[in-house]
C-alpha cells in the first residue's frame, strides 16, 4: 500500500465522517442532547483534521481546527447548541464537505463563505469562552539564553500532588530547531531522580539516560544511597538518582525534551554549570561518545556496549552503578516474566477468546464495488444459463427422469437463493442520499429567504446501490422545486395562519417489492388555475379542455412546462418535472403527485429495489414474446364476450365486478398488428398504472412466470417507446420487457407513431 492508496482511503473515510457529522448535527438540531451524539460529531471533525494533517491539506486542517474548537466548546458544555449555533455548524459542515471535495478533486471553494464561517465559529467559541487561550497553540517556550547567565529556574514539578501540577509551556518539536548554538557548547548539570510512577507508566530511566547521551558528551554519577538491603527491597520502587554532566551544543529545552514523557514523575533539575563558559577545567571529565554510532537507531545492546566501553575509561564506577540500576530493573522484569509463563495457558485460552471476539466485532468488510458488480453479472448469466438448461431438458426429454428433474429444481432454487444473496450485498440504505437533501434544503432555503426544516423517515430502507445512485439527481430537483415553489414565504405562511417555518418530509419504505419514496411539503399546494393557464399558454392542452384536479396536477410533468413566472436561479435550470419523470421512468419507476390547495403537495415515487432482476410474466402478443413486470399486474382474467363493451370509435371497456376498465390491446399499441385482437381469444392483465387507475392489457396468451435478468435496451440498442428493457430467455431468445405505464399512456391517445415503434424494426 502506498500513500496514494491511503489518501484514497482517507477521502472515503471523510465521506463517512461527513455523513456522521451531518446526521449528528441534525439530531442535535432536533433537540437530542445525548453526550455521545456531541462526541460523535466532534470525532468526525477531529478525524478529518487528523487525516488531513498527515497529507498536508492545510486548508482543510485549518478550517477543521476552528470547527473542532467550537465543537469542543459544545462538548464541554461551554456553548449551548441552540438552533442558531447549529445553523452555523451545519453550514460549516457543508463547507467542510466542499473543502474535502476540493482537496480530492482539485478545484476551489467559495473562500469568502469559508472565511465568514471561520469568523462565526470563532465568535461562537470566544463569545462563550472569555479565556479561550486553552485552545490556542501552545506558546513557544522561552528559549534558554545562550549566555552563561543562570537559567531562569524552571520549577521542578511538585513531587506530591499530581493534580495540582502546572504544565510548563514547551515546544515539542524537539531536536529539529535549535537556535544558533554556541559553538563549543555548554555544560549542564542535570539531577534526575525518578519516582516509582515513572516506571509504572512504562518509562525507563536507562532509556532516558541513553537518549540524553545522544545530545553530547556525558558523564554519569549514580546516587545509590537510598538502596535498601535486598530483603527490604520493593522491586517496583525507585531507589536511584543520577547526577549527570552533559557537554552539549543543544539548549536546555532540548535536554528537557528528553525527559518530556517523564518530567512529572521525577525530580529533574537542569542548570548550566557556573564555570562552563570560562573554565575549560571541568569538574567531570567528559566521556567521549561516538555520535556517529549513536545517531543510528542501533539496538539497545550495541548501545549499552558503546556506553560501557567508552565510559569504562573514565567513570567506571558511575557506569557500574548505572548498570546496577538497570539490572535491578531487569530483575523486576524477570519476576514479571515468571508470572507470564505461569499464565501462559490462560493466555492461550484468552487468545482464542479474543480471536472469537474480534471475529464478532468485524461484522462488516469493505469490498470493491466492481467485484460485487461482476458477481451480480455472473449470477445473472447463471440464472439465464440455468433457465436454458431447464428448457433444453424439457424439450429433449419430455418424460424426464425424476432424478434429473429433481436436480434441476434444486439447481433452480439454489440459483435463486444465490441471486437474492448477491443482490443483498449491494443493497444500501437510502440514508446518504437523504442526508444530501438536507444540505440542499438548507442552501436553497437560505437563497430564497425561507425557513424550512427537512424531516426524514425510513432512511434505513435498503435499495440496490445502482438505484440509490440514480435517484439522487431527480430527488435533488424535486427538493429544489419544493423549497422554491412548494413552500411559501414566511410572511405568506403567517398570513395563512401557518407556522412560518415550512416542513418538507422525505420518507422511504418498502411496499410490495418496490421502494416508495414520498416527498411531502406543507406549502400552498398546486395552484391549479395557474397550472391550467400555463398549460394552455404553452399549447399543452386545449383552452376548453375539461380536466379533473388530478389531471391538472399531473400537467406539471409535461414537457415544456414551468410555472415559475420568471426563471429563478434555483429551479429554473432548464430542467423541468418532465425530466424528473423521465429519469424515474428510466429506472422502471413511477411518479405521481397529489395536492391539496393551501395544505401542500405530495410526490410519490415508486421504484424497483433492483435494476438487475425482475419478476415477470412471460406473455405472447402477436407471435412475439414479451415480459410484463409482475409488480404491475393486479390480476389476470379470461374476458367473456358479455363483459366487453365498445364505446367511441375504437375504444373498448371491460366490466370487472361492476366497474368499467379501459381495455388496451398491447399488440395495437406496439403496432404488432393493424387490427384489434378479439378480446375473448386472449387474456386480460389487469394493471395498476401510475395515476392509480386500472387498465386491462390484452395479450394473446400467458406462457408463465419467471425471474428475468434485466439487460438495458438503451445501452445495447436504443430506447424504444413502450419497452422498458430486454432479457434473455431460457431458449436463448431475446424478449422485451413491457413498460406498462408507457403503454397505458400511449393507449390514451392512439397507438405509438409507427416510425418509433417496433413494427418498424420487425
Amino acid at each position: 500500500m502506498d500513500m496514494n492508496e491511503i489518501k484514497e482511503i482517507f477521502f472515503q473515510e471523510c465521506e463517512e465522517q461527513l455523513a456522521e457529522l451531518e446526521s449528528g448535527l441534525l439530531k442535535l438540531n432536533d433537540g437530542d442532547r445525548d453526550p455521545e451524539t456531541v462526541n460523535a460529531v466532534f470525532r468526525a471533525v477531529h478525524s478529518i483534521k487528523g487525516g488531513a494533517g498527515a497529507f498536508g491539506l492545510d486548508d482543510l486542517v485549518s478550517f477543521a481546527h476552528v470547527f473542532e474548537t467550537t465543537l469542543d466548546c459544545v462538548r464541554s458544555n461551554k456553548l449551548e447548541p441552540t438552533q442558531d449555533v447549529l445553523k452555523v455548524m451545519l453550514k460549516s459542515a457543508d463547507v467542510l464537505a466542499d473543502l474535502v471535495s476540493a482537496s480530492r478533486d482539485g478545484g476551489g471553494i467559495d473562500e469568502s463563505r469559508s472565511r465568514a464561517l471561520v469568523k462565526e465559529l470563532e465568535a461562537l467559541a470566544h463569545g462563550e469562552m472569555p479565556s479561550a487561550s486553552a485552545h490556542e497553540a501552545p506558546k513557544p517556550a522561552p528559549k534558554a539564553a545562550p549566555a552563561p547567565a543562570p537559567v531562569a529556574k524552571a520549577e521542578p514539578p511538585k513531587p506530591t500532588d499530581e493534580s495540582g501540577f502546572q504544565p510548563i509551556p514547551f515546544t515539542f518539536d524537539g531536536f529539529g530547531d535549535d537556535e544558533e548554538p554556541a559553538l563549543e557548547g555548554s555544560v549542564y548539570e542535570i539531577t534526575f531522580k525518578p519516582r516509582r510512577e515513572l516506571y509504572s507508566k512504562g518509562n525507563e530511566a536507562a532509556l532516558l539516560l541513553r537518549d540524553l547521551s545522544r545530545l553530547g558528551d556525558m558523564s554519569i554519577n549514580c546516587d545509590m544511597d537510598a538502596l535498601p538491603a535486598l530483603d527490604k527491597m520493593d522491586p517496583e520502587a525507585s531507589y536511584f538518582g543520577w547526577k549527570i554532566s552533559l557537554k552539549t551544543v543543544k539548549s536546555e529545552d532540548d535536554i528537557r525534551t528528553v525527559f518530556e514523557f517523564a518530567e512529572w514523575d521525577c525530580d529533574l533539575d537542569v542548570k548550566l554549570a557556573e564555570e562552563a563558559a570560562s573554565d575549560e577545567e571541568l569538574p567531570m571529565i567528559p566521556v567521549p561518545f561516538d555520535l556517529g554510532i549513536l545517531d543510528e537507531p542501533s539496538t539497545s545492546e550495541e548501545e549499552e556496549k558503546a556506553v560501557q566501553s567508552s565510559a569504562d575509561e573514565t567513570v567506571a564506577a558511575a557506569v557500574s552503578a548505572a548498570e546496577t540500576a538497570t539490572s535491578v530493573a531487569k530483575a523486576a522484569g524477570r519476576a514479571s516474566e515468571k508470572k507470564e509463563s505461569a499464565a501462559a495457558a490462560a493466555a492461550a485460552a484468552a487468545q482464542n477468546n479474543a480471536a472469537a471476539a474480534a471475529a464478532a466485532a468485524g461484522q462488516t468488510i469493505r469490498v470493491d464495488l466492481d467485484r460485487v458488480d461482476r458477481l451480480i453479472n455472473l449470477v445473472g448469466e447463471l440464472v439465464i444459463n440455468q433457465a436454458m438448461l431447464s428448457q433444453s431438458v424439457v424439450e429433449n426429454d419430455a418424460t424426464g427422469t425424476s432424478a434429473v428433474n429433481m436436480g434441476l429444481e434444486e439447481l433452480q432454487q439454489l440459483t435463486r437463493e444465490i441471486q437474492d444473496s448477491v443482490m443483498a450485498i449491494r443493497a444500501q440504505p437510502v440514508k446518504p442520499v437523504f442526508q444530501r437533501m438536507s444540505r440542499i434544503v438548507r442552501e436553497v432555503a437560505d437563497m430564497v429567504g425561507k425557513q424550512i426544516r427537512l424531516v426524514t423517515e425510513g432512511e434505513n430502507t435498503e435499495v440496490d446501490k445502482t438505484v440509490i445512485d440514480k435517484i439522487a439527481e431527480p430527488l435533488t430537483h424535486m427538493i429544489r422545486n419544493a423549497v422554491d415553489h412548494g413552500i411559501e414565504s414566511p410572511e405568506k405562511r403567517e398570513a395563512a395562519g401557518k407556522d412560518p417555518e415550512g416542513t418538507i418530509k422525505l420518507s422511504a419504505k418498502h411496499r410490495s417489492g418496490r421502494i416508495l419514496i414520498e416527498l411531502t411539503d406543507d406549502g400552498g399546494g398546486i395552484n391549479r388555475e395557474r397550472v391550467r393557464q400555463k398549460a394552455i399558454d404553452n399549447d399543452i392542452i386545449a383552452a376548453d379542455a375539461n380536466l379533473s384536479d388530478d389531471e391538472i396536477d399531473n400537467l406539471i410533468f409535461m414537457a415544456g412546462f414551468s410555472t415559475a413566472d420568471k426563471i429563478s436561479d434555483i429551479s429554473g435550470r432548464g430542467v423541468g418535472m418532465d425530466v424528473v419523470k423521465r429519469s424515474i421512468q428510466a429506472l422502471g419507476g413511477r411518479i405521481s403527485i397529489s395536492s391539496r390547495p393551501g395544505l401542500g403537495s405530495t410526490f410519490t415515487m415508486s421504484l424497483p429495489l433492483t435494476l438487475a432482476v425482475l419478476d415477470g410474466m412471460v406473455v405472447t402478443v402477436a407471435g412475439q414474446t414479451l415480459v410484463v413486470p409482475l409488480t404491475a399486474i393486479v390480476e389476470t382474467l379470461q374476458p367473456e364476450a358479455s363483459a366487453i363493451h365498445s364505446f367511441g370509435a375504437s375504444q373498448r371497456l371491460i366490466s370487472i365486478r361492476n366497474s368499467f376498465c379501459p381495455l388496451v390491446d398491447v399488440g395495437r399499441v406496439l403496432n404488432y398488428r393493424a387490427t384489434q385482437a378479439n378480446p375473448v381469444e386472449g387474456v386480460a392483465l389487469l394493471v395498476e398504472s401510475e395515476g392509480g387507475g386500472q387498465r386491462a392489457l390484452m395479450v394473446d396468451a400467458i406462457q408463465g412466470q419467471r425471474q428475468v435478468v434485466i439487460k438495458s435496451l438503451e445501452a445495447n440498442y436504443t430506447h424504444v417507446p413502450g419497452i422498458a428493457a430486454a432479457t434473455i430467455l431460457g431458449d436463448g431468445r431475446v424478449a422485451l420487457i413491457l413498460d406498462v405505464d408507457a403503454v397505458v399512456a400511449a393507449s390514451r391517445g392512439q397507438s405509438m407513431k409507427p416510425e418509433m415503434s417496433l413494427a418498424a424494426t420487425g
Binding site: E5, A54, S163, L207, P297, A354
Partner: protein, 121 residues
Amino acid sequence: MKKKVLTVDDSRTIRNMLLVTLNNAGFETIQAEDGVEGLEVLEGCNPDVIVTDINMPRLDGFGFIEGVRRNEKYRAVPILVLTTESDAEKKNRARQAGATGWIVKPFDPAKLIDAIERVTA
C-alpha cells in the same frame, strides 16, 4: 526479533498510515479500532509498545490506557498517545491514566518511530 506494536485508532486512514510506517520500520503491527477492541486484542498479543488515539468510540484512549495499566500482565508496557490534542490538559489526563509518552499529530512517520525508539529498549 521484531518488536511488536499494538495500535489503537478508529480512523482507517491513520490505521493504514501506522501500518505502513511501522512495517517499513521493521515492526510487527497489530491493530485495533477502539479501546474495547484494543483491550480484547491485547490479551495474547504481548506487544512491546502500544500506540493509541484518544478520541474513539466505545472506549476512548484514557479508558483504554487505564485498562492496560490495570492488567497485571501488561501494566508495564509503554503506551504512546497519538493525538492531535496538543494542549496540556489532555496530555495531563493521558499521563494520569498511565500514558508513557505522546506523539502530536499531524502524523509524521519520523516522529512516530523516534518516539517508539525512545520508550523501547
